[in-house]
């Protein structure tokens, strides 16, 4: 089980995966936006998205859980 966390305070601009999706290492899970920059959050492992903790429009704090990949 891998946890994907936010590296910084940001707004969630796009969520590109759903729970149950299969993802490969390097796939973009969500795109955050902070300070006029888009920051893709990537899967760091192969697996299935078991849980998504954010929705588009949410604000995440540094270290907040974004997704779990099992």
């Amino acid at each position: 089980m891998a946890e994907v966390r936010a590296e910084m305070v940001a707004n969630v601009w796009k969520v590109l995966v759903s729970e149950g999706d299969h993802v490969d290492d390097g796939d973009t899970l969500v795109i955050l936006e902070s300070m006029k920059m888009e920051i893709p959050v990537l899967a760091e492992d192969v697996g299935t998205v078991t849980k998504l903790h954010v929705a588009e429009g949410d604000v995440v704090q540094e270290d907040d859980l974004i997704a779990e990949i099992g």
């Binding site: 940001a10 300070m35 604000v59």
Partner: protein
């Protein structure tokens, strides 16, 4: 001269404008969003009006809220700063229609220069060199490929209504171009509300050099020297200097003359910037775009000319003569550099918002700091990452750089990560120190 000004902006530039307004006896009115309530510019203004929530669309980009704030406070003029609504012809018209003085060029000049395709065509007609590129919007990826065939790779893909490097990317072949086109189109719609895209021949080892112009109330257009802005990451400027160490006196004279022609072609009034790309090896330049507003990096020009550009903006908007003799050529003295202190990590340049626990600015001879924050304030994710502009001046480039090294070492910020360590690295980089660098410098510094 009008007696009051509403500053439709935030952070360091609002503070910068307040400073000159105060010196000139003009009452300053700040506006702020929820996120910015505690920033220094809000308390330093003579009056401050709360606009609304933190999202720019509900605060600094809402023309109706801004005009309402101006009406309630009896403001006589509006200064837009840079970014937000500074290059909105519609906002400029609305300000004038409300009976207020707009501190900027006419809506018509903003409009003609705001669209990069129109601006290119206009400049070519005025005898200003432009790079091979689109003279009308590129409809789709197939059309882009055909256009690139004509222009020649590599090409730069840009939003016609864009700015700030957003959505821009270079493509070296058809596949890259198709990808770049889609990205540019998505971002163009999202950030600029217009899907129009253009292509231009991309110069990979170019310098980015811009000319400060001033269109006077009597119609004359002056060039106040150039700024070299070739230190960039993600096509956004990180450091600027003047004079440019990479152009000859002959090329400088040609560029200044072309910038004046550019301003005259649109009947420009106020402060503006003509951005160019320079092929230093060939000794040639092409027009890139014109920014119809005060530029972020205007302080370096102020440091070498002794001219307060915000003061000239106020005077010109009021229909008065500028504060210096416009018939004598402006002769810059010495050398100035600006380092943009961003809330971002110094390696990957990723944003790093957060609460500032320690903030100690450097000071001393030849040091100027324009900052938007202080200890105890919070850098939020809603706006750009600019914390401060650290500028130094010296009789020579060497002296300006040495003062910059000391100032960077003395600047203490704790809380958010900042790019101050990057600036220390830049000031020790052999390529930068030699003066012989181009827009690829930062990527080369970050190559693994």
């Amino acid at each position: 001269m009008f007696d009051s000004v509403l500053i439709a902006n935030r952070g360091e530039i609002a503070r910068r404008i307040i400073r000159t307004a105060r010196r000139m006896g003009i009452r300053s009115i700040a506006v702020y969003s929820d996120a910015d309530e505690g920033l220094p510019y809000v308390s330093e203004a003579d009056e401050a009006v709360h606009l609304g929530p933190s999202a720019p669309a509900q605060s600094y980009l809402d023309a109706a809220l801004l005009l309402d704030a101006a009406r309630k406070t009896g403001a006589a003029a509006v200064h837009p700063g840079y970014g937000f609504l500074a290059e909105s012809a519609r906002f400029a018209s609305a300000v004038s229609a409300a009976g207020l003085t707009w501190i900027g060029p006419s809506p018509d000049a903003i409009d003609r220069m705001g669209d990069k395709i129109r601006a290119r065509n206009l400049m070519a007609a005025a005898g200003v060199p432009v790079a091979p590129g689109s003279s009308s919007p590129v409809a789709d990826a197939d059309a882009a490929v055909a256009e690139a065939e004509r222009i020649g790779y590599p090409v730069m893909v840009k939003a016609a209504a864009g700015g700030g490097g957003i959505g821009m990317s270079a493509a070296y072949d058809d596949d890259e171009l198709r990808k770049a086109f889609d990205t540019a189109r998505t971002r163009a719609e999202r950030f600029f509300g217009s899907p129009e895209i253009l292509l231009e021949r991309y110069l990979s080892r170019a310098r980015h050099v811009e000319v400060q112009i001033l269109g006077l109330a009597d119609g004359r257009v002056l060039a106040l020297g150039e700024r070299d802005c070739s230190v960039q990451r993600r096509h956004q400027k990180v450091a600027e200097e003047t004079p440019s160490p990479g152009i000859s006196p002959e090329l400088r004279a040609e560029m200044l003359a072309a910038a004046v022609r550019a301003g005259e072609a649109v009947g420009y009034r106020g402060a503006g910037t003509v951005e160019c790309l320079v092929d230093a090896g060939e000794g040639t330049f092409v027009f890139l775009e014109m920014n119809t507003r005060l530029q972020v990096e205007h302080p370096v020009t102020e440091l070498v000319t002794g001219i307060d550009l915000v003061e000239q903006q106020f005077l010109i908007a009021a229909g008065e003569p500028v504060s210096f003799d416009p018939s004598a050529p402006v002769a810059p003295h010495g050398h100035a550099i600006e380092l943009r202190v961003y809330a971002e990590d110094p390696k990957r340049f990723l944003p790093s918002p957060g609460k500032i626990s320690v903030w100690e600015e450097p000071s001393g001879p030849g040091v100027r700091v324009d900052s938007g924050y202080a200890a105890g304030t919070t850098v939020t994710p809603f706006y750009d990452p600019l914390l401060a502009k650290l500028c130094t001046y010296g009789a020579t480039r060497e002296e300006a750089l040495e003062r910059a090294r000391l100032a960077v070492a003395a600047f203490r910020v704790e809380g958010p990560k900042t790019n101050l360590p990057f600036h220390a690295e830049l000031l020790g980089n052999a390529e930068f120190v030699s003066g012989d660098y181009d827009t690829g410098l930062v990527s080369r510094m970050r190559q693994p």
